[in-house]
Subunit: 777 residues, 2 copies
């Protein structure tokens, strides 16, 4: 390999480092209007009346719109919301009206002039309460909605999804077990915290062409859903996504775009920009769902888990479009990277009057592995096994059957477990830095399949230019992960040219070919495969021309360094650029035309899951890996310092070590943030910490020593064997830290985050218990 596997500099490095990269909220257009959103102060209330007349009368206000103006429903997996709330508001921050004005100041003033009359309703903040049969309904009229792109069964209670996983005979399994071990864990809502808040610009031209420039992950999903919401044919919609200041799932599907598009349709001919303030971003944009998880495992003395019963109850907030699918994903991945013969799992997606849940790096996997991986350590401890041993005994291996009875091959999980233990020196206890501190080490594993529903197709176009350089067209967004660099490397490798000769265009739905979404760790895998196919299609054409030109067999020809060579005739050498516009004969006549490579890809093998048992093949492949952590706990304050983190993942094939390591490092640190700091503190539905002052995320100063390594067990249909790594890289960080904390102080923190308060309280309780036990003796 000449390019794949090399540390190629990110193609967007200079523009990002110099600040030249324009993000959506840097963009201004002549005559642009500014949008602001009027939001609900109540978690649950009837809207009795909205009076916009005073706001409309304010000079500089160009439009004031409410839900009634655009009653169509929207949703990617389930249509459960309208552009603005119409009859009811369902969380604090729910949008009820929007203003477009000549300045942000006027727009804000207009918001104050909009008078909304509410009638408060009893609100539900606990999903377990909300699940009860007699709980008031948060959505009463879902059956009236339509226009879902994916049809999800209409819920008639506050449970929007109940995913059932049934493998083997769980009762029989528990009977065979020597021990039954039960645990409960919980995860609060956390926020994506993209550095660029949600921003979108829209313009409806006078001839009916809608242009949207959005800080979004998936321009094609935005286009498709906008088409549904507003009944606009897709050829009349253009969605552009250029530089994006972070997504992490929170900019997947359709987010704030319909609100600004509704304004654009009201004031055609003007650009309108909607940019969330940081406070709005925290309160009103989407977040990661809360989870209550229960595990009951039946284990044999030899360490083998023979039965497992799991309950996942998700606090998915006021709208569950994305939630229903996350909950399903958690269901079919319920036991983590382990082979268990008998499994019963129930995963519930529940409406509450909390802010709206959405995809978040890991798509439910961070949340469930928080419990799974601590539960594994608890089982190991019970049996007197090490964390490595319990994972080696139960871990998924070649030939294993997953919880959906998929037979696996090429599984590198155990290798990752072993290597992390080695790199972390798991068995070695390091001395603490102070006498009042203690150290501990822990590991945690994870698996995750990339999201690959039937529409999850990719495509790529490669144009060979007249000088032998190429333009690569894809619609995957580079939201920071460096995927455009990896895709350029793949194209360069296939074409036999230098990566510098490849230009990757930013997505624009008018121009770049279809891509489902940039989510689910699927870009390098799915788009990468499309790029390979496009490159091979282009190469084939070039070799055909050369074979005709020189009257040789196509099989004897190959491309290297931008030239076509013959294996048999050393004198045959032709610059690929000479065929860029087809074949020109010596008499001046020509044949063919411009050389364009086309590649399309849709993952094969995925099937529908049985609605009663969840059995089937939900994803095309799985990525496995392990994080390890060494922590130091201050016994006087309860503070946890992460000293070192180790990560080994089986990525199938490393396309670019720099960006691949970047994914692991980013995942570790983001995971560490959720482990130690991050939590949306909600009181009666109100977010108490909607700012960086009160909602902490890790900074460079918080980063521990990091060691990363890769295992490479090639994936059969991955590009050069590559597997998705974006999300998996984050998943086991928090449980690894929790296991390390347990190792240090013998106390298990079951609810995220592991705050100093919780740790100190747990230490004190533990000491009190020890005292009590001592006294009892």
């Amino acid at each position: 390999m000449k390019v794949v596997g090399k540390r190629v500099k990110r193609i967007d490095a200079v523009s990002k480092v110099t600040g030249e990269a324009k993000y959506v909220d840097d963009m201004k257009f002549e005559g642009m209007l500014y949008a602001k959103i009027k939001r609900s102060p109540y978690p649950h209330a009837k809207i009795l009346n909205i009076d916009t007349s005073k706001a409309e009368a304010l000079p500089g206000v160009e439009a004031v719109i409410t839900g009634k103006d655009f009653p169509n429903t929207t949703g990617l997996y389930m249509a459960d919301r309208t552009v603005f709330a119409i009859d009811k508001v369902r969380y604090i921050g729910d949008a009820v009206a929007a203003v477009a004005a000549e300045s942000e100041e006027i727009a804000e003033k207009a918001l104050e002039l909009i008078e909304v009359e509410y009638e408060e309703l009893p609100a539900l903040f606990d999903p377990i309460e909300a699940m009860k049969e007699d709980a008031p309904l948060i959505h009463e009229n879902l059956h009236e909605y339509d226009h879902a792109v994916f049809i999800h069964p209409v819920p008639h209670t506050n449970i929007s999804e109940h995913f059932k996983l049934r493998k083997g005979d769980v009762e029989k399994g528990f009977k065979e077990a020597d021990y039954i071990i039960e645990d409960e864990f919980s995860v609060p809502m956390v926020h994506h915290v993209p550095l660029e808040t949600h921003t979108a610009i829209a313009k409806m031209s006078l001839d009916g062409q809608l242009e949207v420039i959005s800080s979004c992950q998936s321009p094609f999903a935005v286009r498709q859903l906008l088409g549904h919401v507003f009944d606009i044919p897709l050829n009349k919609i253009t969605v552009k996504a250029e530089y994006i200041g972070g997504g992490f799932g929170g900019k997947a599907g359709l987010q704030i775009e319909p609100m600004v598009v509704a304004l654009a349709m009201t004031v055609p001919g003007r650009y309108i920009r909607l940019t969330y303030t940081r406070e709005e971003e925290f309160q009103a944009a989407v977040n990661r769902q809360g989870l209550r998880a229960k595990y009951k495992s039946g284990v044999r003395k030899d360490g083998k888990i023979v039965a497992q019963e799991i309950t996942y109850i998700w606090d998915a907030g006021a709208y569950n479009d994305y939630g229903v699918n996350i909950v399903k994903t958690a269901g079919y991945s319920c036991s983590g990277p382990y082979e268990i013969e008998n499994v019963k799992a129930d995963s519930y997606c529940v409406y509450t009057n909390h802010p709206v849940g959405c995809a978040y790096r890991g798509f439910g996997m961070c949340e469930i592995h928080w419990g799974i991986e601590q539960h594994m350590d608890n089982i190991a401890e019970k049996l007197g096994l090490s964390p490595v041993e319990i994972r080696k005994i139960n871990g998924l291996k070649d030939g294993s059957l997953t919880v959906t009875n998929e037979r696996l091959q090429d599984v590198g999980y155990i290798k990752c477990v072993e290597r992390v233990a080695e790199l972390l020196e798991l068995d070695k206890k390091d001395a603490p830095s102070k006498p009042y501190k203690v150290r501990g080490k822990g590991i945690a594993g994870a698996y995750k399949g990339p999201s690959t529903p039937p529409a999850a197709a990719s495509s790529a176009i490669i144009y060979l230019l007249e000088d032998g350089t190429v333009n690569l067209q894809v619609s995957a967004t580079d939201i920071g992960q460096g995927s455009h660099t990896a895709l350029a490397q793949i194209a360069a490798e296939e074409l036999g040219i230098d990566v510098d000769k490849i230009h990757v265009s930013v997505p624009n739905t008018d121009y770049t070919p279809y891509e489902w979404q940039t989510v689910g760790s699927r870009t390098t895998y799915s788009t990468g495969n499309a790029v390979i196919r496009a490159a091979r299609d282009l190469k084939r054409q070039l070799l055909e021309y050369a074979a005709e030109d020189f009257n040789v067999n196509i099989e004897d020809l190959y491309i290297e360094d931008g030239f076509i060579y013959s294996k048999k005739d050393k004198n045959l050498k032709k610059d690929i650029k000479d065929y860029a516009l087809g074949l020109v004969y010596s008499d001046g006549s020509g044949r063919g035309g411009p050389v364009i490579g086309k590649g399309i890809f849709i993952p094969e093998g995925v099937t529908n899951l049985d609605p009663e048992t969840g059995q089937g093949r939900p994803v095309n492949h799985w990525t496995f890996g392990v994080h390890g952590a060494e922590v130091e706990v201050d016994l006087e304050t309860g503070e946890v310092d992460v000293i070192k983190m180790v990560s080994v993942f089986d990525v199938g094939r490393v396309i670019n070590p720099d960006t691949c390591e970047g994914q692991l490092e980013g995942g570790l640190i983001q995971g560490m943030g959720t482990a130690l700091m991050e939590e949306m503190i909600l009181k009666d539905g109100k977010l108490l910490n909607p700012s960086f002052v009160d909602y902490k995320i890790p900074t460079a100063m918080d980063c521990p020593e990091i060691i990363t390594e890769f295992v490479e067990t090639p994936l059969k249909d991955g590009p050069y064997g590559a597997r998705g790594i974006g999300e998996p890289a984050m998943i086991p960080a928090a449980p690894a830290i929790a296991n390390a904390v347990y190792d240090a102080i013998g106390v298990r923190i079951t609810s995220l985050p592991i705050t100093a308060e919780k740790v100190l309280k747990a230490i004190k309780e533990k000491r009190a218990n020890e005292e009590k036990e001592k006294n009892n003796k």
Copy 2:
């Protein structure tokens, strides 16, 4: 046909009529700088020194550059110029330096501060003088230049091209003739007069990506030539062409772009705009070359022309990049739409110190037909034949041999001649509106082949969207001719969907596929063919999916109104959108991927021409047609009023009657402008009329009654048989008017334009001669 041949509304109608369409000179970017060009006041001079220090010191000036900073040469057909003049200036208006400043005012002030020391040289304004062996050379160092995309032999005299056409034995032919008829005609330089002057915006990003937004006809030619001029790989260059306010050939190839790009490279990170003032446009932008034409025809008594000797001497101005190719085109089309057994023609492209010649609607054909078609009428008069008869006898027909010995088929010329004579009632003399006026009628024919050199390839991409609408990608520019509408119709017809379901994207070299140039009446033909192929490629994929889906033969399936039907099974009906992302089976698994149609096209059959005889096949096909005019001449003032114009062209197939008629009407009126009004009045190289006050073009008020009709002799490889019409529509307008003037007053005006002064002078001379003859009798 459901869409082709229908009066479909132009797809850009609303945006143009409402003024929403943004032209390049409407565009502003944050922090944009303004460029201005310092120009030579001398027609021919050495540059001794340029002192830019004072200009550089002016606050607000960001860059001052001269020729020495960017010494590479540029050219599409012949590299004979640098970005700015370096050692010499060669015409009044030649660019010597450029400024980029924070405002236009500062830039203009800076121009005044640039001090250029010149040493005047003897200047050449008459091409016949310039051709002389002892004439001073306008270009001394062409042999040092390189980097031409198309290699033209390096001229060592002021003759940059001498195209030789030798068919048969012209001496023998003259011996067989009963009469020898000789004529001379001349054509002055005229200007394209686009409503939008030349404008281009450039930015060189900090990571080396060059972006150019230009009011240009051919973004791919701009990209390729910029790559050459500045040694930039093509994948690092983006050229965008959106709405274009007229081109007519003057925005073909590379025009003002290198000057603004040179500034952009000097001040990276800033957008810089260069917009010509109207005066600059007239003086310094390109124009249509001047021509001196001599015809000597040997004619038999029966009207058959048996020999013809032609000399074309072109005043191509100071730089002849485009000129050499126009002169070649005139050479291989030298005799017009007539079959003559023995032809000898010499077409000379000559450097003078006049403004720069370039492509202009017709590419030399307007200029040569001005003489050819008057010469034909002179021959007819000599033999006592009617204008129709002389053309029927000699006109090209099925089986005719052209001057390059190409055997023609499917020629509709004579039909056009007959139909124009009929519609104009050529034999009927109408009464004048005033006693001091006289009326006359005239016709003129024309032929023109579309420009189809080996690189003249086209391509198209069609994306099928998820709702069954489509996005069509082409890089042909719609410079006003309505081609995007015609291409949408072709795609709609092929795909079996409504034209409203098709979105045509504006060209952007990053995204849209290769297109050589939007010149030479080639778009509907060449790009149209690429669109047909892309549509068929897309359809094939859909039908393959349907055949597999329903387990039927692909041959039994067809697409209509966006649905796939079976010829055999009436129940089989499938929306094409259902396969937009590939084939999804009932178990949820999928195959294929996004449906993308690709079409590439390069005209076949064109060959190199023999350098000694000009024999070969220069173009893929020819378009024939005839204009007729009725005029009224004021005998007291010499003023010519065009009362009526008639046009009948063989377009092979009318794709859209509205836009096709628009081409004929536009061609007639632009031709009428050159016939009666337009002329660049040059005195010692200085343009005396660089404004709309002194350079008149026809307005709506000047338009006569117009009748247009089409003959449809399908072209074998044309899209539905269509031939190019953009340029041909203009060619015979001026000679038709001249022939009508002759018919009215018996006086032949041999030099364009037919001004009142010339007519009155000719009338007076004629009267004087008649008096003299009467007196002599």
